[in-house]
């Protein structure tokens, strides 16, 4: 009886927990990622079946094969750590660089062409930046900090973040409360700090899915063994060796889950902290 009560208590707690918005978003991301990963697994099995390489039964074969690098979950986890390290560092760097450039642009506006030139360079795609760097420096082993820097600025990433931050900064400065406080001698940044923080946070989270996708190319071009690198390798191996199907499923699930989760976090931050959302509520 006591055991039954405990189970009921846990079930009630789970039910309550899933009602919270945060957990529901994670749960939703997991379900959708499983669905999409299985869809992609099926789409990969069909051509293999048609080509006579194997039967459709391998779709249901989810045994964790051991691969040279260890078991599949650990293998995917290692790749995930590599990708996350790259993406999170690039994310932080892009925010810091964005804030610094917005500050410099406003403080030293005479050098505007210089800032624009620098931002224009960031318009080159990460893939193009890495390959060009490798070829012009004749260095095919790019160091990790340079990879992080390229991912943080490439594909117009820095330009976007600077433009967004600048737009928000100017928007806040236009507001009447800001002008009033400024006329009273309060420092400009102190006045709009809370509003700027909220809107900068929201904009920063928008960058996460973009950086995750960019990391796939960075890893492929620079041979860094993250999720993107292994996704491509498992696809290549699938053409010869069906054993990589579970690695492929694991990586697609993880990648899609990360992208979906970062999208949901962005949406959550926007809903929770955006002043306009408060008005709607």
């Amino acid at each position: 009886m006591n055991g039954q009560l405990k189970i009921n208590k846990y079930l009630l707690q789970l039910k309550f927990a899933l009602k919270s918005k945060e957990l529901f978003l994670v749960f939703k991301s997991i379900i959708l990622s499983i669905f999409l990963a299985l869809f992609m697994r099926m789409m990969s099995v069909i051509p293999l079946t048609f080509s006579g390489e194997t039967g459709f039964d391998i779709f249901f074969d989810f045994k964790f094969y051991s691969i040279s690098e260890g078991s599949i979950p650990f293998f995917v986890l290692n790749a995930l750590l590599m990708t996350l390290k790259l993406v999170m560092l690039a994310w932080i760097l892009s925010i810091v660089l964005g804030l610094v450039i917005v500050y410099l642009k406003n403080k030293y506006f005479k050098f505007d062409p210089l800032w624009e030139f620098f931002l224009g360079l960031s318009g080159i795609h990460v893939f193009g930046l890495i390959v060009s760097f490798q070829i012009f420096s004749s260095n095919y082993n790019i160091s990790f900090p340079i990879l992080v820097f390229i991912l943080a600025i490439g594909s117009g990433s820095l330009k976007d973040i600077v433009n967004s931050f600048e737009f928000v900064y100017k928007d806040v400065m236009r507001k009447e409360y800001w002008r009033f406080m400024y006329s009273q001698g309060v420092k400009p940044f102190r006045i709009g700090f809370s509003e700027l923080l909220v809107r900068f946070t929201e904009l920063s989270f928008n960058k996460l899915p973009i950086l995750l996708v960019g990391s796939i190319l960075v890893e492929v071009a620079a041979n860094k063994q993250g999720l993107g690198f292994h996704l491509l390798r498992s696809l290549k191996n699938l053409e010869d060796n069906r054993g990589d199907l579970n690695v492929f499923t694991g990586i697609t699930f993880t990648l899609i889950f990360l992208v979906l989760l970062s999208q949901h976090i962005t949406e959550y931050v926007r809903m929770k902290y955006d002043p306009q959302s408060f008005e709607k509520r």
Binding site: L32, M43, S44, S51, G123, V131, V213, L231, L260
Partner: protein, 278 residues
């Protein structure tokens, strides 16, 4: 659309059309010679020669032409299918289960990054190539890959168009059209698409061109090896220069790729600002 912008857009498109025609017609011939890896402006070759002694300018025209052909196919499929779906979701379909299911599917497909889709599409195509000989022709294979890419991107476009139509609905524009007795066909084709969404269509077409050029260069890159191999394209020209002995020659395809993607991105952003103002 601003007159100046539309003039530039039309002239640029005509120039690219000329490149496509030159590429398809075979007017430009690329013969090999013994003058390998000549630098720019030497030996009577404007952009030098490649590793097999071919004139780089001619190689580039044919290569860019091939890139534009596959991008054009992707853009057409995306605009047609996405336009149809967007109008159905935004205007013709009533609120209900069917619409909810379609919106859910569209959002789910959109949530997976395009790069993952394109990797999978080329992989499926490679596997299909094992038992069908149709993909032995590289051009057919790449047109097929980019047609599917266009099909996948059409879901993004459909959602954008749906949002745009909802904005028009909120401004009571569509209601006013219906009130004065216009039929649905006129409202869709003349008022929604032609007058109020032309910038959106052109902006998305430019965006797809930019994406396709970049995608082609990415999947043809020798470390990925899923794109063009024998035919000329920006990706293969870049590869040959990168693998070849003289790496200075990657400047030409790299610059061509950058100019093209920057140009299309510029058009896309300018036109996007136009439709957002509407």
């Amino acid at each position: 659309m601003k007159k100046k912008l539309s003039k530039y857009y039309i002239w640029t498109m005509l120039f690219f059309l000329l490149l496509i025609i030159l590429s398809i017609s075979g007017t430009i011939t690329t013969e090999r010679s013994s003058l390998k890896w000549l630098p720019v402006l030497s030996g009577g070759h404007l952009l030098g020669t490649d590793g097999t002694g071919r004139d780089m300018a001619k190689v580039l025209i044919v290569g860019v032409g091939n890139n534009l052909i596959v991008s054009f196919v992707a853009a057409i499929i995306s605009l047609l299918f996405g336009g149809l779906l967007g109008i159905s979701l935004g205007y013709t379909l009533p609120d209900g289960t069917l619409k909810s299911v379609l919106v859910f599917i569209t959002r789910t497909i959109k949530s997976v990054p395009l790069l993952i889709w394109i990797f999978l599409v080329v992989f499926w195509t490679e596997l299909l190539g094992i038992y069908t000989s149709i993909f032995d022709n590289e051009m057919i294979k790449m047109v097929w890959v980019f047609a599917i890419f266009g099909g996948i991107y059409s879901f993004n476009f459909a959602l954008l168009l749906m949002g745009h139509i909802q904005k028009l609905k909120a401004a009571q524009f569509i209601e006013a059209c219906e009130f004065i007795g216009l039929n649905k066909k006129t409202i869709i084709f003349k008022h929604i698409i032609w007058h109020h969404s032309n910038s959106l269509f052109l902006s998305q077409a430019s965006y797809i061109f930019a994406q396709c050029i970049f995608m082609e260069m990415t999947i043809s890159f020798y470390k990925i090896g899923y794109g063009f191999r024998g035919e000329f394209s920006l990706g293969t020209i870049f590869n040959r220069a990168a693998i070849g002995s003289d790496s200075h020659h990657i400047f030409v395809p790299l610059a061509a790729g950058l100019i093209l993607t920057t140009l299309f991105s510029y058009f896309s952003q300018s036109l996007e600002k136009k439709y957002q103002k509407l």
